[in-house]
Symmetry: C2
Subunit: 502 residues, 2 copies
């Protein structure tokens, strides 16, 4: 058997083994390949995949440094392949995969806290190369450390173009003349899709992998949306057998990237699948993803039951137009998992209510969730009359919220220990304390505009910092004991950070 | 018996009969006076009151024009007094008392719709004359058509001064040195109150009556707060017997003013009274107020049971910091009475969360309740470091909401028939239709900022008006049929009015 692999790899990096095998018949289904990896501290089995042109690949992410050996087995090859490689310690910027830590929070495998501030660009990897590059340049600004995007192309308002690649071999329906104006009545010449769901198009996945790796280099988690209902090509209504084959292929290709998260669906409840279908799909991830990447599922109306054991964190779209981030504490209590509010309306001016709130309102929602020990998500939806919209295409940002979200992240990183928890200090100012019990409070007044607030700190000294969450400024007022009146500017969107003196 | 009264009075005006009687003993308790009034269409009994200096008064509001006769009886007089008077039809500006009409709404007795836009100045009639006059000059601007205020003086943050008059004979505790800064620890030289709860101070009530009459002349309803808990003088903790005597006196003095509403309490649940106490007090109003003035009661935390038969309309303080006006439809469905949200946080910058929202947020709440078929209330609480605050003292307004509230009132007055009801048009834009079934819609987008919205009007023509609720402008876009895209400015606080062409 001819195969190739590197001699060494970084801890939490990707060891990829390429193998030459049979290309007759249908290599995606007729043959299989599996790798067994043996290190001092772990034994893992990873399914491989056919990458076209007679090449099979097996990917593995080692979680420890040191020497590993492997055995590749499968059909479509002559015999087995064996080898060994060295895993060298992670570089400074590589903290490993993100895990749930401290019940409600996240940290990298090396223990570095991870406070998610995510955005959504559903179809960014399906856009022309130039747009994808623009998106990356925007992401380089460090506004976000997570991005949600789809594997399957998207057919939805303001997003009717075919993707640059399709996930399967075949030909799509002809809908090249669809526009936002005519899509309700458009009659294509050729409305039929012709796909072979047993033959993936490796180029589609290779292209995504390139982007996932670039995100990894930027320190951004790739929250992969496995399925979604915004479809004219039939990918949302495949058979269970086709779905399962797709999920296996996805795991084989993507799971070894340490920044991958699995979002089983966007708006699962708009798809023609039963809960049994979702549980079956989830079970494939549980069984075949060797790294137990973070897993969740996103709702339109009804929440999925986030208590399901396979779900690592809530991935919530708001259910109420007026109140959502404010319910973070309730969600924590109910689900006992990290609360990620991945859709709480986007900054923009679309005709749709989910996409037309102000930057101020979106940032307010971010803070409301943060001080309740949860995490909100960003999206931008400025109506551009045919141009790119960040939420779907990526490209450039035009809003006001992203800088304030980055600022919030800088505040969250000051939390002692890992994570904030809601505490009941004020009925009119959501208040957080450090989960680790340190004297550390972050109080957010939101739309309230107090001129001052009084506290009784008792005999110990406390340092008080006033934060203008919109202007992105903070000022230490001083260190106080006993009863104190803290002057505030009587403006919206102010916060207080109260902690022990340095 | 010597008595005096005018020969004629306006319909819904006040016929006042003055009688000379005994002043020995305690005329407030030892003697009584009652009037029986006979008109072609009504027979009414009204209790009178002792007004000091040997003078008793009986007041009566006739609801019909034409000839009336009366008989006054009582103790403390020689025999009875009889007479007759002519009621002439109401003048143009006198529409009679406000009643509940159309289940969820209000109208004057002559059928003119009344859309309440109220404000709160708890202690404005207790302030120095000059301040009271300032308040009236502010009210002359026509921002509001209802004002909530207290009979008893108020002891509360930013409001520690003694009132210009007290409701009872006696001497108050000495708290002249109290300030916002020291009130928690202040020790007066003389902490005791000495009141005779059987002897009212007529001047206190005469002063209020003068203001009630001036409000009437301005077309403003006087929403009288009968009891409240913000007290250092003992008026909130009188015996049941004292309470009942007070209520009888209040009815005898105030009920004949057609613009009086009874609010049994502000924050009833902060007072040391049982539900049985409140029901007993309510029963006195039901039995002795000859005109069945509008009656409600205001909560701090728990709503009173607004289904109680004596309650004519809900008088709600919001229970949730984030969502209240948005629940108007739920309150309508639950209570089947007009929903008046008399406290939904005030425009200002006080340290207290109930008094520091922006004008924009308050106006948003007004519109949210209006398009759901309810009515919000105003208050202004700008911290002034010892100066007047509108919410308590009255005086001048400094905020941004009052003009927008007046503008909203002008829009409500365009409603065909009487009143709006919530309809389910958009999940992201609260929508109202006319209660009377006319094709008339008022759609409010609130914090949503759509660039356009599409409608399908069908074959009939409809006129569409875009309203900027903050800039107080409106523009008719045109008359449309069928499918139409309505351009919108992608700003917050926009509304649409859609109706049949004129």
């Amino acid at each position: 058997m001819k195969f190739d692999y590197p001699e060494s790899v970084e801890q939490w990096g990707i060891l990829e083994i390429s193998l030459e095998g049979r290309s007759d018949g249908n290599p995606f289904t007729d043959y299989s390949v599996t790798g067994d990896f043996y290190g001092k501290n772990e034994v893992k089995r990873a399914e491989g995949f056919y990458d076209g042109d007679g090449i099979y690949k097996v990917r593995f992410m080692p979680s420890f440094s040191g020497e590993y050996t492997f055995v590749i087995s499968g059909t479509g090859f002559d015999g087995t392949a064996e080898g060994k490689f060295e895993v060298f310690p992670a570089s400074d910027k590589n903290h490993g995969p993100v895990r749930v830590f401290n019940t409600f929070h996240f940290a990298y495998a090396d223990g570095t806290p991870y406070y998610p501030v995510g955005t959504t660009c559903y179809a960014w990897t399906h856009q022309p190369e130039e747009t994808q590059e623009k998106t990356l340049r925007t992401l380089e600004q460090g506004y976000f450390n997570k991005i949600r995007f789809c594997v399957f192309p998207k057919h939805y308002d303001f997003n009717f173009a075919d993707p640059v690649t399709f996930p399967y071999e075949g030909t799509p329906c002809d809908n090249s003349g669809i526009t936002q104006e005519n899509f309700g009545s458009y009659k294509p010449d050729n409305p039929e899709n012709h796909w072979d769901f047993t033959r993936f198009c490796p180029e589609h996945f290779r292209s995504m992998e390139r982007r996932i790796r670039q995100l990894m280099d930027l320190g951004i988690e790739a929250d992969i949306i496995v399925m979604h209902p915004y479809d004219r090509w039939g990918f949302s209504e495949m058979s269970a057998e086709d779905d399962d084959r797709y999920v296996h292929y996805l795991i084989a290709r993507f799971a070894a990237f340490r920044n991958v998260w699995w979002s089983l669906a966007n708006e699962y409840d708009l798809m023609k699948k039963s809960i049994a279908d979702w549980e079956r799909i989830a079970s494939i991830f549980c069984e075949y993803d060797p790294y137990c990447r973070l897993r969740s599922i996103h709702n339109c109306h009804a929440f999925y039951d986030y208590t399901a054991p396979w779900i690592t964190h809530c991935c919530i779209q708001r259910q109420d137009d007026y109140k959502c981030a404010e319910l973070t504490g309730e969600y924590r209590a109910r689900y006992r998992k990290p609360v990620v509010l991945d859709e709480i309306a986007y900054e923009g001016n679309l005709p749709h209510g989910w996409g037309n709130i102000s930057g101020k309102e979106l940032v307010r929602r971010f803070w409301e969730s943060a001080v309740r020990g949860g995490y909100a998500g960003h999206g931008e939806t400025y109506f551009s009359g045919g141009g790119n919209i960040w939420w779907s295409h990526g490209g450039e940002l035009h809003g006001e919220s992203q800088e304030r979200i980055r600022f919030l992240h800088s505040i969250l990183q000051k939390t002692p220990g890992l994570g904030l928890k809601p505490v009941d200090l004020h009925w009119d100012g959501a208040s957080a304390a450090a989960e680790n019990g340190d004297f550390y409070y972050l109080i957010y007044f939101g739309f309230h505009r107090p001129s001052y607030r009084e506290y009784d700190f008792g005999p110990e000294p406390y340092t008080v910092e006033v934060i203008d969450t919109w202007e992105m400024t903070s000022a230490v007022l001083g260190t106080f004991r006993g009863k104190v009146r803290i002057p505030l500017p009587g403006k919206e969107y102010m916060a207080l950070r109260i902690c022990r003196p340095d």
